[in-house]
């Protein structure tokens, strides 16, 4: 293996690592606030890619009608919960989907890449809060295991919907930039830099959001102590919706970014989500910097093991979990102590 090969592998690994990092962040936000391991996040990533692809070919994606349909249910439900909830529901589940649908109807035939990307983000992002509203909020107090099982079930529901909406074929998203330049003998594509830049902007944006805004602080409070947060008047329903909204936005963004590098099919999201989960586990499902390091490690390890022993790549990546779990459990003491 010479330097060229090593650098090329490193570039490949860091690019995929950045995608895993995005998913790990989404998983961490949702888990710390609601204790849900958000398995369907990977499917929302595939929704992101396929929604852009559909809009780019001038078709209206099935996800748009899903958004409209479930939003109507959420709107009806909110009408029975007092005036304030009804007003809020009208805004979030009435006006917003109506505006997105109108924009999609008007703009989809133009097939402009930037517009398609923004529309896809606008369509997929509300899926998170809707999933929270109908699937998780009614059972928010259940055990982590029960929530995980529910999460798995939702994954299968979304995969089925994905097949109905988009069919079995793969599709790709439009690249944000076509530029590419040579760094020595290494060819770096603009899309790779776009992935890394988006990742950086998102991390800084989240840092500002959690540090400087009232909603971000509410999320942090709910994450550090759910009961305490409720006692000081933080609405558990709203923080949950916000956490799921952030996660689905991140998933859609990751889908748009990676979809331009490689075509995805409706069922490709789960594997990517699983790698993001491995990264999040490395952060013990609490630490963002550790999860970031884990994501890059998974990406680079995947790239290197593809080179050395491609048939065993998944084995190598997932085996990495074992020492990490051993170390985590040793560090946090025996299970009896934690309980």
């Amino acid at each position: 293996m010479d330097w060229f090969v090593f650098l090329a592998l490193l570039q490949d690994g860091i690019t995929t690592g950045a995608i895993y990092l995005l998913l790990a962040i989404g998983l961490l936000i949702v888990f710390s606030v609601t204790r849900v391991i958000f398995v369907p996040q990977g499917d929302l990533l595939a929704f992101g890619t396929l929604t852009v692809a559909a809009l780019q070919s001038g078709r209206l994606p099935g996800t748009l009608w899903l958004l409209d349909g479930v939003s109507v249910l959420a709107l009806l439900a909110s009408l029975f919960q007092g005036r304030r909830a009804a007003m809020r529901g009208l805004l979030a589940w009435g006006l917003y989907p109506a505006a997105v649908t109108a924009a999609a109807l008007l703009l989809a035939p133009r097939e402009l890449p930037a517009v398609s990307i923004l529309l896809a983000l606008a369509i997929v992002t509300p899926m998170g809060p809707l999933i929270w509203r109908f699937a998780f909020r009614p059972v928010a107090g259940a055990s982590v295991l029960a929530l995980l099982i529910l999460s798995m079930a939702l994954h299968f529901v979304l995969i089925g919907l994905g097949l109905v909406f988009f069919g079995p074929e793969e599709a790709s998203a439009p690249p944000i930039t076509d530029a590419s330049f040579d760094l020595g003998s290494l060819n770096v594509s603009g899309q790779t830099l776009a992935v890394l830049a988006s990742c950086g902007v998102l991390v800084l944006g989240l840092r500002w959001f959690f540090g400087a805004t009232i909603h971000g602080k509410a999320l942090r409070a709910a994450a550090s102590d759910r009961l305490g947060a409720r006692l000081v008047g933080i609405d558990a329903g709203a923080t949950g919706a916000l956490a799921f909204g952030l996660a689905s936005f991140i998933a859609a963004l990751a889908g748009v970014l990676i979809g331009a590098i490689t075509p995805l099919s409706y069922d490709a999201g789960f594997d990517i989500g699983l790698k993001g989960f491995v990264a999040a586990i490395m952060g013990g499902l609490v630490s963002y910097p550790m999860a970031a390091a884990g994501a890059v490690l998974v990406g680079v390890l995947e790239s290197l093991s593809s080179f050395w022993a491609s048939a065993y790549r998944e084995v190598i990546v997932f085996t990495l979990l074992i020492p990490v779990l051993v170390w985590l459990s040793l560090r946090s003491g025996s299970p009896e102590d934690r309980a």
């Binding site: 293996m1 090329a8 690019t15 995929t16 079995p168 998944e314």
Partner: protein
């Protein structure tokens, strides 16, 4: 009272007699119409719309059931078809795994079956099993013949990390040994992978003259794009699993020049007029595309159609021996199928024998190349 009972018994007896006289040939088809195999199942099923309602003066009933791309469902359906529908022959199953599950059942009940997916078995041990899909080694051998003519001595292999990747590799090894070529690398990736950059780098680092791919459908475009992006200049070859318009759509300009084998039906319009398959395929496809559209051409409808042609060719001989619905008829049908000689189908030409229940030769494989955004037959 007695007279009335007698009349009733007589009437029932006559009913039974007419039923026997009207005995029709029943053919059971087990297809994967829903589930992950649905994209292929649509093709398999579409062909049945154009099957004859009568063969050699006998009415034919086709019973089509969906196994939902699940072998155990297929097995249950096969059991029902044998014990309740009393079918005379199976068309299908259309999935390799279901073929393997149903074959013992069909052989035990002495019901001839024409499997429609590549399925390996010993016809002397499963005398009732026939297969009209091209065996993989036959297809791969055609690709290697072309490589050898173009002076390729070393190849790199990249395929799926699943059964299909293993099957194509086995075929590749067999053909490479026969043609005295060296396989320098064996790289694998999963259908859902998002990057094969590393595998492509590895392949390039061992400098093969050509790349052979053991993958299928649109994920097959991924290594081609990566190899071309990294500046690989050698030839890239694939198997029939990649030959579809979707492969070109996903791969774009990078897949130009990729060569693969395919069923003659897929490029029937480009076959030379001297090829007997062209006339049969044109007749079938004229009806098929009129109903399903010009973009609907696919190899899978051809396997259903050939299964029907095989049965159509064998049924007259079997009718001379016994009536449909009897074991003697099924036995005679099997014997007649085994004697099929020079039957021109849309996927190949069939010459069966007791040791060869597929009967196809190199005429069942056509080489195609991606040129100007479409698959073109190499003459």
């Amino acid at each position: 009272m007695k007279a009335r009972l007698f009349a009733a018994v007589m009437a029932m007896g006559m009913l039974g007699a007419t039923a026997a006289a009207q005995a029709q040939i029943k053919i059971g088809a087990i297809l994967s119409i829903s589930g992950p195999g649905a994209a292929m199942g649509v093709g398999y099923k579409g062909a049945f719309d154009f099957f004859p309602k009568e063969i050699a003066g006998q009415k034919v009933e086709y019973i089509i059931r969906d196994d939902a791309t699940d072998a155990s469902t297929g097995y249950t359906i096969a059991q029902k078809m044998i014990s309740e529908d009393h079918i005379d022959a199976f068309i299908g199953p259309s999935l390799t795994a279901t073929d393997a599950a149903v074959a013992p059942l069909a052989n035990q009940a002495h019901v001839p079956m024409i499997a429609m997916a590549p399925y390996e078995y010993d016809p002397t041990k499963q005398p009732y099993t026939f297969n009209d899909a091209q065996p993989l080694p036959l297809m791969v051998a055609e690709v290697f013949k072309y490589m050898q003519q173009h002076g390729v001595k070393t190849i790199g292999y990249i395929g799926f990390s699943d059964g299909w990747g293993d099957q194509v590799l086995a075929g590749t090894k067999q053909a490479a040994a026969a043609d005295d070529m060296k396989i320098l690398a064996d790289e694998r990736y999963a259908r859902t992978d998002t990057s094969v950059e590393a595998q492509a780098l590895k392949l390039i680092s061992v400098h093969p003259q050509a790349i052979m791919m053991g993958n299928s459908a649109t994920p097959a475009a991924l290594p081609v794009v990566a190899l071309r992006h990294l500046g690989y200049k050698g030839g890239i070859y694939g198997n029939h699993g990649i030959v579809s318009p979707a492969f070109i759509k996903v791969g774009g300009g990078a897949v130009s020049g990729v060569i693969a084998d395919t069923s003659p039906l897929v490029v029937y319009t480009q076959l030379p007029d001297s090829n007997p398959i062209k006339a049969v395929a044109s007749t079938f496809m004229k009806e098929y595309t009129a109903k399903f559209g010009p973009q609907s051409v696919n190899p899978f409808a051809g396997y259903s159609y050939d299964a029907m042609l095989l049965l159509q060719g064998a049924i007259p001989a079997a009718l001379k021996v016994a009536k449909p619905g009897t074991e003697q008829f099924r036995r005679a049908l099997r014997d007649a199928l085994e004697k099929t000689h020079g039957l021109v189908g849309v996927s190949g030409v069939y010459d069966m024998s007791p040791t060869n229940h597929n009967g196809q030769d190199s005429r069942a494989a056509v080489l195609v190349e991606v040129k100007d955004g479409a698959w073109r037959a190499i003459q």
